[in-house]
Subunit: 317 residues, 2 copies
């Protein structure tokens, strides 16, 4: 990295926007050049409150995040936003969305927004998101929001790494919503029914209450259900209060340390999986074994399970 890794690390710690953006691009391009800076920044992480916000498409997560950002800025706290976006790199939607949203906060150096497009499998979205959160954390942001579109497994993995997880619903989203709610209820520290001025908001709240009552239960914390109309700023102060209450709860019970360990474990495994596969594939790609193996699998000359066993045996594992 130009200017040296130590200088870069120092600039990021000072909150230098250009240095932060440059490192994030390296992370997103999966460049090995990012690693020295990430190593240098790591000791300065672990200070930010990391808040995950997830929910189905159309639930108004971006608006909610933007309103929460304004609320926390009024309180004098700095904010980083990582928007995980299923938009393909081709269409440039992520970059466009960044620009539109940045305009809102463009005069405020206390806010940094970054969209991450979902990428190829080996790249590892959860790993890249974790890297970006660590950069914002080391850069001194008081709060980091991770905002995900979608309700898939990857999104749940991403949100799991947060200290406080917010799951957003809206009234009347249709059939699969029940399935979705059940899947993510367990990770929710706060439930939000957004667009609560719509018909059916109270029914949605009641449904969520019923599902929580049926769920495994948590002895330590019972997730509040809050109504918001994000576009009008309604319920935002209460939600911000709810986030801080959950953070206080984490600190009191020594839970933050447990979470820290969980985050460390998840990140280590993510990184391990990516690195070891990459290393094996580099070896196998270089000597042509990979292509031969895949050709044989495609022609049913060998089954993939035996092929992987062979492959690992040759690598001495």
């Amino acid at each position: 990295m130009p200017g040296g890794d130590e200088e870069m690390t120092e600039r990021i710690r000072q909150g230098d926007v250009r240095a932060i953006a440059r490192l994030m691009s390296l992370i997103e391009n999966d460049s090995p050049e990012a690693t020295p800076a990430l190593k240098g920044l790591y000791p300065f992480t672990g200070r930010a409150l990391v808040v995950g916000i997830t929910g189905p498409p159309g639930s108004g997560k971006s608006t909610l995040t933007d309103q929460l950002t304004q609320e926390f800025r009024r309180q004098g706290r700095t904010v980083g936003i990582v928007a995980v976006d299923p938009t393909s790199p081709f269409t440039g939607g992520a970059i466009l969305a960044d620009r539109i949203r940045m305009q809102q906060h463009s005069l405020d150096p206390g806010v940094f927004i970054r969209s991450m497009a979902t990428r190829g499998h080996l790249g590892g979205l959860a790993k890249a998101t974790n890297d970006v959160v660590n950069v914002l954390d080391a850069a001194g942001k008081d709060l980091v929001f991770i905002e995900t579109v979608g309700v898939g497994q990857d999104e749940v993995e991403v949100v799991k790494t947060a200290h406080t997880s917010i799951v957003v619903s809206v009234p009347g989203l249709g059939d699969d919503i029940q399935a979705m709610k059940a899947g993510i209820l367990e990770i929710a520290d706060i439930l939000v029914v957004n667009k609560a001025d719509r018909e059916g908001a109270n029914r949605t709240v009641a449904e969520l209450q019923a599902m929580i009552a049926l769920g495994p239960g948590r002895s330590d914390w019972s997730p509040p259900i809050l109504k918001t109309v994000a576009i009008q700023g309604e319920g935002i102060a209460e939600l911000a209060q709810g986030i801080l209450a959950h953070q206080t709860h984490l600190d009191q019970g020594g839970l933050r340390q447990l979470l820290q360990r969980e985050r460390s474990r998840a990140f280590f495994l993510e990184l391990l999986q990516e690195r070891v596969t990459r290393r094996l594939l580099e070896q196998a790609g270089a000597n042509g074994i990979l292509d031969q193996t895949i050709e044989r699998i495609a022609h049913r000359e060998v089954d993939p399970y035996s092929a992987v066993d062979d492959f690992l045996k040759k690598a001495g594992l």
Copy 2:
């Protein structure tokens, strides 16, 4: 597996429902007992038409899949359905959904339905789905539908392994829908606007057309946009025709072989990643290195990037 792996393989090839269900449970529980049977079945795979159906929550994918199943059954084709469901194992939603849907087809031995709940990270949803598709393929199903809830990266990975990918939209789903569409447009072989009796259906079709026109373009195939009202069976015959037309297209251009290789590659990598990580962790878990490493990362005594490098060095990689 009781009865011996060869007998099990044979029974599955004959379409024995109990044997199929038993193997699928082993796959879902990530049991090593599944592997011998999967190895034995692999030579008999590669015959089924694999059709992916994805789209946001509430777009009516299940109804669409059920209607397509009825249509193909009328044509005398057998069908397997794999519903990838974000419902947590706790709530049992996946099993419940299976039962409800099975009632519809319960008198028909030509249909097999299985829901897969999304699971822990190392289990690998895409790997498990691939395994289940292979079982249905070897069991002689003419068509296998993979139905996914959600629009995340994991779902895209799952659908990518299909021969024909269907992306379902509905009129008026809200803000993020644009981003979603862009992200999955590239994998769509057929676009469906379901609930097309709703207001705004034609606008949704026009939007999709515009996005395709702006996209990278495909020299070989231009994805049709079809309107359906699945709940009333409208447009289903045309969609079934569209699926078969795409399959014919694949056969004519030699594209099926290319896809076969792509599927083999993706599956091999998925399997490799899972096995190698599991093997490393078993070693590290047994000697306590894993917990020590994670503790040191959590306390910021070492950064995770260096810790992974150390870890791989010790494993001789």
